[in-house]
């Protein structure tokens, strides 16, 4: 059975709205302009929270997958799928904003940066995972198979990151490290936006979870009725 949490959802959605408004205000009016990069640096305030929460989502897929194997409960399977969806959305947006940042800052759309490359590979892995889910592969054993994929995908993350870092260290990169010194106002802006995107993330995941959970209940009920009428 799927429990739903409408009050929590309302809370997160409201928090997302308030925080996002505050975050937008901070980005455009509060945070000072960066000296060398100018206004383009403001992409950072979207990019960082998106990247951060996509990794939280992928870790969530892993944790939910472990719970599927452990408890066998259907709700964890649904949650894993929902988190993977949110993770692919967020990592996709993080990649796009990162690429635009790269074009503006380093004059190239794509460069071999370990973090960037790791995010791209993760995007591929979890997109594939979603395609497999959508194809409903595995039949009755499907939930277990999806759980195994969810675990294997996450186990791969550190290896991908290490290999991406090693790969680059022999090929010296053209770019200098990201500007280290952020002013205190910038940090405040970063934190507000991180929280805002976190609230939005939670609201999206919860809303989708409710929908997906309900859909499964309805399908199960339809099957039951069909079986009854056939008898």
């Amino acid at each position: 059975m799927f429990r739903i949490y409408p009050k929590t959802l309302t809370l997160f959605a409201a928090a997302a709205m308030v925080l996002m408004a505050a975050g937008q205000y901070a980005i455009w009016f509060y945070a000072p302009e960066e000296m060398t990069m100018g206004p383009v640096q403001k992409i950072f305030y979207f990019h960082l929270p998106l990247a951060w929460w996509c990794f939280v989502a992928f870790f969530g897929v892993f944790a939910a997958s472990v719970m599927v194997l452990w408890t066998g409960k259907e709700k964890w399977d649904v949650l894993a799928g929902v988190l993977a969806e949110a993770g692919v959305l967020f990592s996709g947006l993080a990649l796009i904003t990162g690429s635009i940042w790269g074009r503006a800052a380093w004059n190239t759309w794509w460069t071999w940066d370990p973090r960037l490359s790791t995010t791209l590979v993760m995007w591929f892995v979890y997109s594939g995972y979603l395609v497999l889910r959508a194809a409903d592969a595995g039949g009755a054993k499907g939930a277990r198979m999806r759980a195994v994929l969810g675990i294997v995908a996450f186990v791969d993350v550190p290896l991908v990151f290490l290999s991406a870092r090693l790969w680059r260290s022999i090929h010296p990169a053209v770019l200098a490290s990201r500007s280290g010194g952020l002013e205190p106002e910038m940090w405040t802006t970063v934190w507000i936006n991180l929280l805002a995107w976190g609230a939005l993330f939670a609201a999206i995941v919860l809303a989708r979870y409710h929908g997906a959970g309900f859909a499964r209940r309805v399908e199960a009920a339809l099957v039951r009725i069909q079986e009854k009428t056939l008898q």
């Binding site: 100018g38 206004p39 796009i96 859909a215 309805v218």
Partner: protein, 43 residues
């Protein structure tokens, strides 16, 4: 400045698109629930 604008458009299009997808899923769900109610009334 242009790049900042493009990045913004991309992000909000992405989030908006996903919310639309959510809305569509919910309308599909509603249709199924109505089906369920009709079948239930038949019995």
């Amino acid at each position: 400045m242009n790049y900042l604008f493009i990045a913004n458009v991309c992000v909000w299009l992405g989030v908006g698109g996903y919310v639309l997808f959510l809305a569509r899923q919910h309308s599909v769900l509603e249709r199924r629930v109505r089906q369920l109610e009709i079948l239930d009334a038949d019995e």
